[in-house]
């Protein structure tokens, strides 16, 4: 099975911080004032993907 990881489109992110607050493994943080997913920690649960109010996060292989 292919493992999916969350990725933030930094051109779209409005830096509300919602994804950071819901991440169960603390894999999301602010980098250059935009949300950024540390893919080595991401478990692909998609909670942040669904939380994003403007759809700026997607799951990628």
């Amino acid at each position: 099975m292919v493992k999916h990881k969350a990725k933030v489109d930094e051109r779209e992110c409005l830096s509300c911080g919602g994804c950071i607050s819901v991440c169960p493994v603390d894999a999301v943080f602010m980098k250059n004032l935009r949300a950024f997913v540390d893919q080595s920690l991401c478990i692909g649960c998609s909670i942040c993907v669904n939380t994003c109010p403007i759809g700026a996060i997607s799951l990628e292989e």
Partner: protein
């Protein structure tokens, strides 16, 4: 570099904490990662007029408009009105949050706190388990700053709490995920705040319309994150404007912002050498999502407790627990009650909301507050809202005690 206190984040809670700690003689550093305080705005910009009584702000520059009241619409459009006439003339303001935040930071600085911009905190400095300060990244340079107390005022996405071992992760059913437009040139003559409820309109949340005056409006949506899909909040808001708010379609969009509001139970807010305030402490109202009043109240308490701690040179959890005790007295009951109300209301389907609204459409409310709304609901529907009844009583008892 060494300070008594480092406050991380210059939002309302951080600035007020810094100010009241500095006022009591503490050497305070207020760190903001952004280049400009108050920007970007991440807020619906509505606040209760109650804040006037606290004299925490000096100017009126942050007030965009004073509301005539609130109109709450159930899914079928039934309207419940809370107007200033029935609410003792005290309603709410629509504010310029950027101006508001700048004034509070200014007042922190005037009280003696040092304010540092573009300074991102990237970790805590620890000696064993003991917190000794923060690691800061500033213009590509990393360095450490020592302090006896670190205050996490770093918002909904707070890392300070997590780094200190407090589990601040917000569950998706405890987070409102939001977007908001600011439109100008809107021909929609009202000075009421409007709230639209419904599972299809805004699942687990609501759509709001806040008039800022001169044809400028904030129109936003918050939905519960566990009902959210990628980009759903924005899609629902656009669809609602398209269908129900045609006057806004003709408006000029000046701003689109996203936001996230914790509608959670408050977390543990004190450790040795550490406090959490504002959204980082989950000090936002679980029903309305409002967090400014609690941030100001909580920040002031935090600042005073820190001032005392510095004077006595005691920074242990037992000493700082005074902060937790005092914010629980000030608004802890209310947050807990409204959390339980939120949970109960999530079970209401659209039909129930329509029925409840219908029973209140001509009701004369005693004041402009969610409590007066809840009281009216309990009065009208004692059996349906049986679970609410003890919660309302609880808070009334609390109020009596205060008097």
């Amino acid at each position: 570099m060494r300070y008594d206190v480092i406050v991380v984040g210059a939002g309302p809670a951080g600035s007020v904490t810094a100010r009241f700690a500095a006022k009591r003689g503490a050497k305070v550093l207020l760190l903001e990662r952004r280049a400009e305080i108050g920007i970007p705005v991440l807020c619906g910009e509505g606040v209760s007029q109650r804040i006037d009584k606290w004299n925490i702000l000096e100017s009126k520059n942050w007030i965009a408009n004073k509301l005539d009241g609130a109109k709450i619409f159930s899914p079928d459009g039934t309207k419940v009105t809370l107007s200033k006439e029935m609410a003792g003339n005290e309603t709410g303001y629509v504010i310029y949050r950027d101006v508001f935040d700048k004034e509070l930071a200014h007042l922190a600085g005037k009280a003696g706190a040092e304010v540092m911009l573009r300074s991102e905190v990237i970790g805590l400095v620890k000696e064993g388990d003991k917190i000794k300060g923060v690691k800061v990244r500033r213009m590509k340079e990393d360095f450490e700053i020592e302090a006896d107390i670190v205050v996490g005022a770093d918002g909904v996405e707070s890392k300070i709490g997590r780094w200190a071992g407090i589990d601040t992760t917000v569950k998706p059913n405890d987070l409102e995920t939001c977007v908001q437009y600011t439109f100008s040139n809107v021909d929609y003559p009202t000075d009421y705040g409007e709230f639209y409820l419904g599972k299809k309109i805004a699942p687990g949340g609501y759509i709001w319309v806040f008039p800022k005056g001169d044809g400028v409006f904030n129109v936003g949506i918050g939905i519960l994150a566990n009902f959210s899909k990628p980009g759903l909040a924005l899609k629902l808001l656009n669809a609602f404007i398209e269908k129900k708010l045609p006057d806004f379609k003709k408006g000029i969009p000046l701003r689109l912002l996203a936001g996230a509001v914790p509608v959670a139970k408050p977390v543990e807010t004190v450790r040795d050498n550490l406090l959490l305030v504002g959204d980082a402490a989950r000090h936002a109202d679980p029903i309305t999502g409002g967090g400014i009043t609690t941030s100001l109240e909580g920040g002031r308490i935090a600042g005073e407790v820190i001032g005392d701690a510095v004077e006595k040179q005691r920074f242990d959890r037992e000493r700082l627990a005074e902060y937790e005790k005092r914010w629980k007295e000030a608004f802890g009951q209310k947050l807990l009650r409204n959390y339980m109300v939120k949970e109960i209301m999530l079970d209401f389907d659209d039909k129930t909301l329509n029925m409840l609204a219908d029973s209140l459409k001509d009701y004369s409310f005693e004041e402009f507050s969610t409590l007066s709304l809840l009281k009216a609901l309990v009065l009208k529907h004692p059996t349906l809202l049986m679970k609410l009844k003890p919660l309302i009583k609880l808070s009334e008892k609390k109020m009596e005690k205060k008097i």
